[in-house]
C-alpha cells in the first residue's frame, strides 16, 4: 500500500501545480469520451469559454457511482440511461439540474428536475433495403409476417438496447407481450450480449435485421455514402431512449458545474451530438440538424415508461422474455 499512497501523493501534487486552472470532472460512458464519441469536441468547445480543464472519466457509470458513493469524485455525470435512473436517483447524490427544459426538441414533455436529457433517439429495426423491399410497417406486421427474416437482438439482461426492446414490446403488447415474443422467436437468429456484436452480424450480412436505432442509417449515409440501410417505422410508435446528465450535489466546483449544465443545452454542445453520437440532440432547431437527419423517417409516436414503471416492469418482462425464447 505504500506505493499506492506514494502514487496518490504524486498525483495530488501534480494537481496542485495546476491549481490556477480549475478542473471539472465529468463521468461519462466509455463511448462518450473516446476519440469516436462526442467527448473530445465537447471538451474543446467548453474549455474555450470556461477557462477551465474539462476532464472526462469514462467507464460503466452506474457501478462506478454506486461503488464510490458519497466519496464520488465527479462534479457532473453524463450519459445515464432513462431506464435505469431510478437507482441513480435513490443514491441521493444528485442535485437539481436547474435548467429550463420547457423548450426541448423532444417528442415528449420533460419534467424531471434532477436529470436532464442531452440526446435521444428512437429504437428501431434496421434492415438492408436491397434485400428487404417490403419492410414491416408495424410490430404486428413483423411478428405475424410469413417472411423468413432473421433478426439479431441484444439481451435485456446485459444491454441497454436489449432492455429498450423489451420495454417497447411491453408497451405495445402489455399482457400479451409473452405471446408476441413467442411469435417473434422463430425470426430471432440470435441474442447478443452487447450492441456491437449484433450490429457487426448485421453489417456482415449474417442477419437481415438488427435491433438498433432509427438514426443508425444516418451513419452509413453520412460517413460511408451507403444508402442501403434503412430503419423500419412502426405505426404503433417507437420506444424512446434518452441519455441524461446530472449534477453531483457535493461538487466542489458548483459554478463550473452549473456553467457546464447550461452549456449542454446550447447549440455549441447540441450541434456535436448528431455526428458524435448518431442520435438526435435534445435541444436543437430542426433546420440546424444535418440534412441527412432532417430526411430520416420518424415514427408517429414516442413510447416511454417512467423510471418507476420501467423498474417495476423489468424483472417480470425479462421472465416473460426468457420463457418465450427459452425454447
Amino acid at each position: 500500500m505504500n506505493h499506492l499512497t506514494l502514487a496518490a501523493g504524486l498525483m495530488l501534487s501534480a494537481t496542485n501545480a495546476l491549481a490556477e486552472t480549475p478542473a471539472l470532472t465529468v463521468y461519462a460512458p466509455d463511448y462518450f469520451g473516446s476519440e469516436w464519441g462526442p467527448g473530445p469536441a465537447i471538451e474543446t468547445a467548453f474549455e474555450a469559454e470556461c477557462a477551465c480543464d474539462l476532464q472526462f472519466v469514462t467507464g460503466d457509470l452506474m457501478p462506478r457511482i454506486m461503488l464510490e458513493g458519497a466519496r464520488i469524485k465527479a462534479d457532473v455525470v453524463i450519459g445515464l440511461n432513462t431506464d435505469v435512473t431510478k437507482q441513480a436517483r435513490e443514491t441521493g447524490l444528485f442535485a437539481p439540474h436547474g435548467q429550463d427544459t420547457s423548450a426541448l426538441t423532444m417528442p415528449i414533455e420533460w419534467t424531471d428536475e434532477i436529470f436532464m436529457p442531452f440526446n435521444w433517439g428512437y429504437s428501431g429495426f434496421v434492415y438492408d433495403n436491397t434485400k428487404i423491399t417490403n419492410p414491416p410497417s408495424s410490430f404486428d406486421a413483423l411478428v405475424n409476417s410469413d417472411e423468413d427474416w432473421k433478426i439479431v437482438i441484444q439481451d435485456p439482461r446485459s444491454s441497454f438496447s436489449g432492455l429498450a426492446l423489451l420495454l417497447w414490446v411491453k408497451s405495445v403488447y402489455g399482457d400479451d407481450a409473452q405471446l408476441a415474443w413467442e411469435k417473434l422467436a422463430p425470426k430471432i437468429l440470435t441474442v447478443t450480449a452487447g450492441w456491437s456484436e449484433a450490429y457487426g452480424m448485421f453489417t456482415d450480412g449474417e442477419a437481415d435485421m438488427v435491433f438498433s436505432y432509427t438514426t443508425s442509417p444516418a451513419y452509413h449515409i453520412m460517413a460511408e455514402e451507403d444508402l442501403t440501410k434503412s430503419a423500419a417505422i412502426f405505426e404503433e410508435g417507437h420506444y424512446l431512449t434518452a441519455e441524461l446528465v446530472g449534477k453531483i450535489a457535493g461538487t466542489d466546483q458548483p459554478e463550473l458545474a452549473d456553467q457546464f449544465m447550461s452549456f449542454i443545452l446550447t447549440d455549441g454542445f447540441q450541434m456535436i451530438i448528431p455526428e458524435g453520437n448518431w442520435s438526435y440532440p435534445a435541444k436543437l432547431d430542426f433546420e440546424k440538424l444535418p440534412e441527412t437527419f432532417q430526411t430520416l423517417p420518424t415514427p408517429p409516436k414516442a413510447l416511454l415508461y417512467s423510471e418507476e414503471e420501467a423498474a417495476a416492469l423489468r424483472d417480470p418482462a425479462v421472465e416473460e422474455w426468457l420463457s418465450a425464447l427459452g425454447r
Partner: protein, 521 residues
C-alpha cells in the same frame, strides 16, 4: 546450501501464490465486504450454473480429444512450414471474442463460405446457432492451445527413448503404450482443466452463438448482477460459485492425473522409425490438414476483412498498439516471474502441497474478470485514482490471467529438471542464482519461451478490466477495437483486429523462438 536454495524457492513460490490469492479470493473478498455479505441464488441461476459446467466440460473434452491426434501428427512429422504452422495455430486462442465470432460466422454462418458452397451444390445451408455453435467456437479457440501443450509433452520425451524403442523393434502400439500414454496421462488432465475453466467464464461467445437466452452462463449472470441490478452481493456469490467450480474440477483432475517423469535426454531431433508406414503418414497428413483448414479458415476471413483498412487506420490506433506492447512486456515479465517461482516450488514440495500451489495458480482463469476488476477498484479507490492506474492494473491482471497457461507449460518441465538434475546439482553444491543461471534456465528455455509466448499473446489480446478502469486518454489495442466497433466503424475495427492478431502472433513467435535458440529442433 542446496537445502537453503530449496527453501528459498519454496518461499518465492509461496509469495507468488499469495499474490495470486490476493488477486482472486482477495478481490472477491473486497466485493463481499463492500456488499455486506452474499446474496441468494434463484432457480434460474442454478440453471445457468448447470449450463456453464456442462458446456465447458463438453468443449474441453472435444478440444482435447481432437488435439491428441493433431499433436501426435505434428510430433512425428517434419515438413516445410511446420514451425510457421504451429505458430499461426496459436492465433485463435488470443482473438478478442467479438472478432472471433465474426470470423467464425464468415465461414460457418448462414451466409458464410460453407453455406455458400453447400447452396451452390444445391444443399441446405448450415446453421451455426445452437449448442453446436458454442462447442464449435470453443473448440476453435482451444484446440490450438491444447495441441500446443500436448505437443510440448511429446517433445519432452527424450529422443533417446524413441531411438531405444526403435532398436528394440517397438511397433506403433508399443510406443503408444510405453512412451506416449504415460505422457498423456500426465499432461492431458491439466490441459483439460485449463480449457474447462476458460470455457466456464465464456459469456459473449456462448450467448451469441448459442442462439438465445438458453445459453446463459454464470459470467453473464454476474454481468447482469453487476451492471444492471448493481447487486454486488449476488455478483459476489456467483463469483464464489465460479471459484467452487474451479476447485471441484481441479480436485477431480489432480486425482486422475498420473505424474510421470519422462527423464532426461539430449534434446536431439526425434526420428520416429516406427511411424514410417504409408497409412500412418496419410493419417497424420489428414489430421494436420483438417485442423489447419478448420483453424485457418476463420483466420483468413479476418485477414481478408481487415487488410483493406490497415493503411487508413488512424494514428490513435497505432498509439494504442504501442501501449499494448508496453503492457505486454510488463505483464509477460511479471507472469513469468510468478510462473517460474511457483513451478520451482511445486517441484520441491510434496505432491499434495505442490498440487495446492498449482491449483492456486489456475484460480485466475476461473475468477470472473468483472469481480476481479470490481474488487481491485474497491481496494484501490480509497488510496488512489483507479483510472490513472488503468495501464498498470491491466498489466497485473493480464499477468494473472495468463499465469495458468504459463504454469501448464512450465510445471512438467521443472519437475523433469528436478528429477534429472536435482541430485547432481545438490552433490555439486550448485544452488541459488548460479543454479538458475547454469542449470535451470538453459534446460527450461523451451517451456520458458513457450510460456512467455502464451502470456505475451494473451496479454496483447485481453481487454483486461476496463469496465471500471477505462481512461479516455489511454487505450490498449483491444480497447481501441472495442471503441471502434461501438462507433459503427466496423471496417476500421476489422483492420485493428488484424493488427492485434499480427502483434499477438509476433509476440508469441519472438518469445517462443527465443526459447528455441541453440536447440536444434
Amino acid at each position: 546450501m542446496a537445502v537453503r536454495a530449496g527453501t528459498l524457492s519454496i518461499w518465492a513460490g509461496a509469495v507468488s501464490a499469495a499474490l495470486v490469492l490476493a488477486l482472486t479470493l482477495g478481490t472477491l473478498g473486497a466485493v463481499v465486504w463492500r456488499a455486506d455479505g452474499f446474496g441468494a441464488l434463484g432457480p434460474r441461476d442454478w440453471g445457468y450454473v448447470w449450463f456453464t459446467v456442462w458446456q465447458a466440460a463438453a468443449s474441453a473434452a472435444i478440444s482435447v480429444a481432437l488435439a491428441i491426434p493433431v499433436a501426435r501428427a505434428l510430433a512425428r512429422r517434419q515438413f516445410w512450414g511446420r514451425s510457421a504452422l504451429i505458430t499461426v495455430l496459436g492465433a485463435p486462442f488470443i482473438l478478442p471474442t467479438i472478432v472471433a465470432i465474426l470470423g467464425l460466422l464468415a465461414v460457418f454462418g448462414r451466409t458464410g463460405v460453407v453455406s455458400e458452397v453447400l447452396s451452390w451444390a444445391g444443399l441446405e445451408p448450415i446453421s451455426i446457432f445452437g449448442v453446436h455453435g458454442i462447442l464449435l467456437a470453443h473448440v476453435f479457440f482451444n484446440l490450438p492451445f491444447a495441441t500446443r501443450l500436448i505437443l510440448q509433452g511429446w517433445l519432452a520425451i527424450p529422443a533417446e527413448r524413441f531411438r531405444l524403442a526403435a532398436s528394440l523393434g517397438f511397433t506403433v502400439s508399443d510406443v503408444a503404450r510405453v512412451l506416449e500414454r504415460p505422457m498423456l496421462r500426465d499432461v492431458v488432465p491439466g490441459v483439460f482443466l485449463v480449457i474447462f475453466l476458460i470455457c466456464t467464464t465464456s459469456f459473449a461467445v456462448a450467448l451469441a452463438l448459442g442462439g438465445g437466452p438458453q445459453a446463459t452462463t454464470v459470467e453473464l449472470a454476474i454481468y447482469q448482477a453487476f451492471r444492471f441490478d448493481f447487486d454486488l452481493s449476488k455478483a459476489a456469490l456467483l463469483g464464489l460459485v465460479q471459484v467452487m467450480i474451479c476447485v471441484v474440477a481441479g480436485a477431480l483432475v489432480f486425482k486422475v492425473r498420473l505424474p510421470s517423469t519422462s527423464g532426461v535426454g539430449l534434446d536431439r531431433v526425434v526420428r520416429r522409425w516406427e511411424a514410417d508406414g504409408l497409412g500412418l503418414r496419410v493419417l497424420d497428413a489428414l489430421c494436420i490438414g483438417l485442423a489447419a483448414v478448420f483453424l485457418l479458415g476463420p483466420l483468413s476471413m479476418i485477414v481478408i476483412e481487415g487488410i483493406g483498412g490497415v493503411f487508413s487506420l488512424p494514428g490513435s490506433v497505432l498509439e494504442a498498439a504501442w501501449s499494448s506492447i508496453w503492457v505486454t512486456v510488463v505483464s509477460t515479465a511479471l507472469c513469468m516471474a510468478l510462473a517460474l517461482s511457483m513451478a520451482l516450488a511445486v517441484s520441491r514440495l510434496s505432491a499434495g502441497a505442490g498440487a495446492l500451489v498449482e491449483g492456486i495458480g489456475s484460480l485466475t482463469i476461473a475468477a470472473s474478470p468483472l469481480v476481479m476488476g470490481t474488487g481491485l477498484f474497491v481496494m484501490i479507490f480509497p488510496f488512489a485514482d483507479p483510472t490513472a492506474l488503468s495501464l498498470p492494473v491491466t498489466a497485473v491482471v493480464n499477468a494473472a490471467m495468463a499465469l495458468p497457461f504459463a504454469l501448464r507449460a512450465l510445471v512438467p518441465a521443472v519437475r523433469d529438471l528436478q528429477a534429472g538434475y536435482g541430485n547432481l546439482s545438490a552433490s555439486l553444491g550448485i544452488s541459488g542464482f548460479t543454479w538458475l543461471r547454469w542449470v535451470a534456465v538453459p534446460r527450461l528455455r523451451r517451456p520458458l519461451g513457450f510460456g512467455a509466448g502464451l502470456a505475451a499473446a494473451l496479454s496483447m489480446g485481453d481487454l483486461g478490466v476496463i469496465a471500471l478502469f477505462s481512461n479516455p486518454d489511454v487505450e490498449t489495442l483491444p480497447l481501441a477495437l472495442f471503441r471502434l466497433m461501438g462507433a459503427y466503424r466496423l471496417e476500421q475495427a476489422a483492420a485493428a483486429a488484424l493488427v492485434l492478431v499480427t502483434l499477438s502472433l509476433a509476440a508469441f513467435w519472438i518469445c517462443d523462438r527465443g526459447g528455441r535458440v541453440d536447440v536444434d529442433v
